[in-house]
Amino acid sequence: LFRQTYLQMYFRTQISQDPDVASAAAAIRSLLEFLKRDQSETLLGLRENLTEAIRRLGEADSSVAVSSGGELFLRFITLTSLEHLDFSQSKNLLVERGELFLNKISLSRNKVAKLCHTFIKDGAKILTHSSSRVVLKVLENAAADKKRFSVYVTESQPDSAGKLMAEKLRRLNIPVTVILDAAVGYIMEKVNLVIVGAEGVVESGGIINKIGTYQLAVCSKAHNKPFYVVAESFKFVRLFPLNQQDVPAQFKYKADILKTAEDLDKEHPMIDYTPPSLITLLFTDLGVLTPSAVSDELIKIYL
């Protein structure tokens, strides 16, 4: 039990020390730490402990990204080919592989930004939603490429994350305007393209993202504006929601509300689901994908 609380503390310190790190990456790093300190003697025991640890992490941060990061790490444990019969040797190999995996995914945000910024043309007006570190990197790359563009950011209540995004953009000298969430329809005729991040990319090719993204997507479809999603590949998650109610409740609400709320129906959800028919293209570190290509990528890993 002591180990489990240590895990949550480790996770929280990761996030606070490096606010730029993706929450899934922080989760994977915490799980790697856990793996190093684990005392089990068999692979099965290790796997059970890890499953428990992932569940505990989910209690600290109930977002989709942490869940997908944990799932991927578990998958990584089962996919590694272990030729060594000795368990301690296998464990060392796992830890080594884990470090390598972490290195690779730390590069993925840059790969995504490199792919996406060519789609931003000179003089473009971009609309984005809430605060996303990947979108920020994309816009940073485009600005470094000497492109002139302006950005509209939705305020994104209830946590006003959009204002934070606007601050970061101002520091990069990009002209930015914060708009009300309700003003999305009003502003849509002015913008040229919409770029959003994603907390999770589901099997159908749709995305799970901050509440208000679905609205944004419907509006941009109505106005025939391209709707681009930027996400790293470790956010691909094995879910297939058919509608908004289908998204599991553990992702919709913050961890503390899940514990204390009496009637979840009365709580405000923090995320929504955007179906693939509204998405034009997804930019990932695996390349530029159409929504139909996402399920292919997922099948490849969960063969």
């Binding site: 990584f76 996919l79 043309k121 695996l286 994908l289 159409t290 139909s292 292919d296 490849k300 890993i301």
Partner: protein
Amino acid sequence: MPVEVALSERIEAFLAELKRGGSGAGTLRGSGETARETTALLRRITGQAQWSSAGDLMEIIRKEGRRMMATQPSETTVGNMVRRVLKIIREEYARLRGSSEVTDQQESLHQLLTSGGLSEENFGQHFKDLRANVIEAINELLTELEATTDHIAMQALEHIHSNEVIMTIGRSRTVEAFLKDAALKRKFHVIVAECAPFCQGHEMATSLSEAGIETTVIADAAIFAVMSRVNKVIIGTQTVLANGGLRAVNGTHTLALAARHHSTPLIVCAPMFKLSPQFHNEEDTFHKFVSPHEVLPFTEGEILSKVNVYCPVFDYVPPELITLFISNIGGNAPSYTYRLMSELYHPEDHEL
């Protein structure tokens, strides 16, 4: 690695022809011929140039490929063939090394998890069989290229039924062969939109009627009006883009919208060598403008100083408007394009 004098002369001659042949929508050579000539030239380079390892050969081909693409950016088949050959080289190299790396080379979530160490393939190993193997594989590619139109035409009977009214636009050799093949067994009616200002539709109509097909030529403006009588729209294209969209002759987007409005299926006959890993965001290379003389002749005089006249050659058609792609390997939905691309080209070759 230097390229021989005779070989470089041939490359220069090819480049000169590319530059000349790309004027106007009425290309002096069809894209099939361009593809075949590019592949033959690449085979010659493989055979005659000096190289010792796969990496060197790939560098030479990339260099020549870039030059060829720079000469005529709108002729995407050149770049596509270069990418095909690069993939062939990778495959032959992997086969000689004896590894199953062919499938592992694709970037995937799976590969991220299972590969140990960053896969930095430098292709440095020397194999004496590599030259012969690559040339043989390129020969297979050439045979495939020669047979593409026939393979597409073979599928015609599945799609065209008796007494149907088919609409097409401009002139496409692939669609011509397609319709002529169906006409051997079925009786149907074809309406050809003339596709101003080059009016290639006229030549198409003449050619089709010589084969005994009942043909009607209409002006582009009449497309929407006539569409309600049409059962199917069958068109060719210059390029198939990575998202399943098209870069086709101007007027195709109008045709596609009219077909969508009337819920008429839009079938695109495009051989695999037209599939390109580009998207339509590339401003500089996507559109091509030619002399506006066809739109407003210079003889008009005074008015020319007061008016801006443009003559674009291509149109972008988004994938949502397309029903089916018929290629030499069969029929596919536009949403499946990504898969065909991953089979034809290696992701690292998308940017040459």
